[in-house]
Amino acid sequence: MTFIYNTAAEMSIALAAKEVSAVDLANEHFDRIADVDGDVHAFLYLDKEGALAQAKDVDAKRAAGEKLSPLAGVPLALKDVMAQRGIPTTCGSKILEGWRPPYDATVVTRLKEAGVVILGKTNMDEFAMGSSTENSAYGPTHNPWDLSRIPGGSGGGSSASLAAFEAPLAIGTDTGGSIRQPAAVTGTVGVKPTYGAVSRYGLVAFSSSLDQAGPCARTVLDTAMLHEVIAGHDAKDSSSINAPVPAVVAAAKKLDVKGMKIGVIKELGGEGFQKGVSERFNEALEELVKAGAEIVEVSCPNFEYALAAYYLIAPSEASSNLARFDSMRYGLRVGDDGSRGAEEVMSLTRQAGFGKEVKRRIILGTYALSSGYYDAYYGSAQRVRTLIMRDYEAAFAKADVLVSPTAPTTAFKIGEKADDPVAMYLNDIATIPVNMAGIGGMSLPCGLAAEDNLPVGFQIMSPAMKDDLMYQVGGTLEAALNSKWGSTLMSQAPKLGAK
């Protein structure tokens, strides 16, 4: 009997009922990782010692009758962009090799306080820049549905660990789709909460005004449970929202969308979207109609410029955020043989430590912020951002939530788009507007595309600070699809490993 195929909610019940101990649950997952991660490569680092100590602590507290958080003892995979005290944190980059943060990210603090067992750190595109996890300096992660394919990115490691049953919960971060697109192509659930809902303290910044950490899992309810652990105001993050966290667990359990208006964004579908993706998306809409929702079409004309604006704002902020990797205080140092000055060592280190995509974006951002170009590039991009927010405002006046396919295609082959950055960027066409406006977005599986038998993601967007609405609609849709299929999508995933 193993629990690894259960949901986090089920594990929580089994732990509370003492059907399984947190230590056994952690060990089952470490066994699974040992079995399959050689093929998947979801993890960059395993913290067996820390995880088992935390599990033991939870078991002791439970034995002593202490009141515990629902997720106490449930294992989790942490994206390697989150600082965890004493644990290597690389952001998928050579430049941070060997750095062990002296502090915990607020998300990590909250996970620890809730008794969540952090198994290790997951692979990602270097500094969260990418849509395939191929940009990791430590080698790509493979999609558990087809090991020759990408698991999405940047949080491919987190999503793949869920799809490979190496962990029931994971933390991702989403700057332009890095939680939702990997969820879509791995048949899992990923949520980017409203900007400011989850503290960014300890999240190594890519683009500060767009970055947002969020929960990943195999079910909507599991993401909601994790959401409630990690969300909430944090005085250490000035952009953190100082308001109560919406009741997302209750919303995920509502299973009711009667009378709700679901807005389909005209611009995020049709041309450029894979046939199987559109088919599954439309079928899911039908399920929502059957459940009593009303479908309305909305138009967001400025979304056309979202991708271009995003590729100015995100690299601009990144060029500044990544300046600190200068070899002076931590991480890689190259060329310090006593013959060179600090400036040259900085330069050599950055040359050797950053990968191609990161350099591309630093150069792009540096250029966009340069005097004389600022207004034309960064300034215009900020104006586009305002227009996107207005598009959303108008759309939310007509609908409670908005929906679209999460990604235009299913998982592509590793290497297929590695040399074509623009083709790679287009993967995030449907997810980027959410970050630009700071609203909430969720991706949940809506079936397999007929042509390649790979998972398709359904994206639900909710207005800022109303994250409960996407959980309500997501939970309802998930239940309807599971009942239609007679099982979960994940139960159709190919078997991995020797055991």
Partner: protein, 498 residues
């Protein structure tokens, strides 16, 4: 033949610009909770935020905002209802994030002015220095370049970095261009920095110690040929560490620029370093290829939007401007210029004022604080104010005024209070320091003195009044100094028929 200062002024008109950086004296840094105390062991006052570790985020120190508003209001600025932080991007090892959080196009205070007075050939004249902006930023760490001959980064064997200073709140106060100062340019600059320092001190927002770097001045100066109507190329002199240096640096730089122009050489737009010993400047970084700092809004911080009512609250608590107060007190107390300056330099103006407010005579109050109490304080290497309170000093002065103590006795009371023997009353009690005011007791002592010095007494009777001194001295000695000498003299002379 090199041009002298007067030659330069005859041919050229100077334009000044002053940038003053002030470290605030908040307990914690601008964006984190680390201590700002000066002189700690290197790198002991740091945390992930001020070290710029990956993932860390800044949070604005509210007290620093309040200080910025105070400074703005004191300098007659408008306080922006909405201002932002920006990132100034450049690489340098002492800057942990390789960008500095500063303010760029939306500073917190704009458009102020400060009037300063200087002595001119035509008497005291007021110059108005217009303030362009006051903005907030964070300080950098400190580099110590070891090895090499210059102590500069070039040629050093290695460098040590101390990040204790990184993140200390800094205000930058920038003037508009200051034309029309003529030959008084160096004095105007000095008077401005002096006045600014006094205001900042009175606001209690900074230690304003130039020698410790909590107030730093960059002096810009340019020359244009008289009547040309053009503006010359400016240089920016850094490392100006005292008020006197401000004056000397501008003086020296004007001579240097004048001579270059005279020789047909051009002025290079550059940073220069002031050399304390020679009063000259040497070239630093050239600014001709303007560095591109790629400023953009700091996305990790929310805009600063102070409430209008909060600004008014702060305005209501602003202290009297130091120069105004100085003049008022000088007149009220009838203090000579030199004494006034001494009091200010000793930082005892507040203390003396507090003592006067308790009823003490201003001259006496000043004399006690600057004299006996300061003398003991210097001996003990402590602050005068730590030895006695204004209330104690006022009490003693009032006791002397009412005749209960003599000046001589008062000195003993002060000594006793400083020695920790208690309040002035208690010291008087314990030491038995009452003035002998009983005339019959005094008469007994007077008669005893006359009896022991009959010749002297006779000389007094004969009209040699100064001779009475010896008799008075004997009486004072007999009464242990507790008699009122004036009263003794009066009784003695009367007794001897004078």
């Amino acid at each position: 033949m090199a041009l002298t200062y007067d030659d330069v002024i005859a041919k050229y008109e100077p334009t000044l610009g002053l940038e003053v950086h002030v470290e605030l004296n908040t307990n914690t840094k601008m964006f984190c909770g680390c201590s700002t105390e000066f002189g700690g062991e290197p790198n002991t006052q740091t945390c992930p935020v001020c070290l710029g570790l990956p993932g860390s985020l800044p949070v604005v120190n509210e007290v620093a905002i309040e200080s910025a508003i105070k400074i703005g209001l004191a300098l007659n600025c408008s306080i922006a209802p909405f201002s932002r932080f920006a990132r100034k991007n450049y690489f340098y090892p002492d800057m942990p994030k390789d960008f500095q959080i500063s303010q760029y196009d939306e500073p917190i205070c704009v458009n102020g002015f400060l009037d300063v007075e200087i002595d001119t050939d035509e008497g005291v004249k007021t110059f108005r220095v217009e303030i362009e902006r006051v903005h907030m930023e964070e300080d950098t760490g400190k580099s110590l370049h070891v090895g090499g001959s210059t102590g500069r980064i070039h040629g050093a064997e290695y460098s040590l970095l101390d990040y204790n200073r990184a993140g200390i709140p800094l205000m930058e106060i920038v003037t508009k261009m200051i034309p029309g100062t003529e030959k008084y340019a160096p004095q105007v600059a000095r008077a401005y920095v002096t006045e600014l320092r006094d205001i900042l001190r009175s606001l209690g927002v900074s230690d304003v110690k130039m020698e410790q770097g909590s107030l730093r001045c960059d002096a810009n100066v340019s020359l244009s040929p008289r009547g040309s109507g053009t503006l010359g190329t400016r240089s920016e002199t850094k490392n100006v560490n005292s008020l006197r240096s401000v004056e000397r640096a501008i003086h020296g730089e004007m001579i240097r620029q004048g001579n270059r122009l005279e020789n047909g050489e051009r002025i290079i737009q550059e940073t220069r370093h002031f050399l304390e010993e020679s009063g000259e400047t040497r070239p630093g970084r050239s600014k001709e290829t303007a560095e591109d700092y790629r400023y953009f809004q700091e996305p990790d911080l929310v805009p600063v939007a102070p409430d209008a009512s909060w600004i008014e609250e702060i305005r209501a608590t602003l202290p009297e401007r130091p120069s105004v107060r100085r003049k008022r007190l000088q007149t009220e107390w009838a203090v000579p210029e030199k004494e006034m300056t001494a009091m200010i330099n000793a930082e005892l103006l507040d203390t003396v004022e507090a003592t006067v407010k308790l009823g003490a005579d201003p001259t006496k109050a000043r004399t006690w604080w600057l004299g006996e109490i300061s003398r003991v304080a210097n001996e003990k290497e402590v602050e005068a104010i730590s030895l006695m309170t204004p209330a104690q000093v006022a009490e003693i002065i009032l006791l002397v005024a009412s005749g209960e103590l003599t000046d001589k006795l008062a000195r003993q009371v002060v000594e006793g209070v400083i020695a920790g023997e208690g309040t002035p009353r208690e010291v008087i009690e314990k030491r038995g320091l009452k003035v002998v005011s009983d005339d019959s007791a005094l008469m007994a002592a007077i008669e005893a003195a006359i009896a022991s010095q009959p010749d002297t007494a006779q000389r007094v009777r004969d009209g040699n009044i100064p001779a009475a001194g010896a008799l008075i001295g004997a009486v004072m000695k007999a009464t242990g100094g507790q008699a009122d000498a004036a009263r003794v003299r009066e009784l003695l002379l009367k007794h001897l028929g004078q």
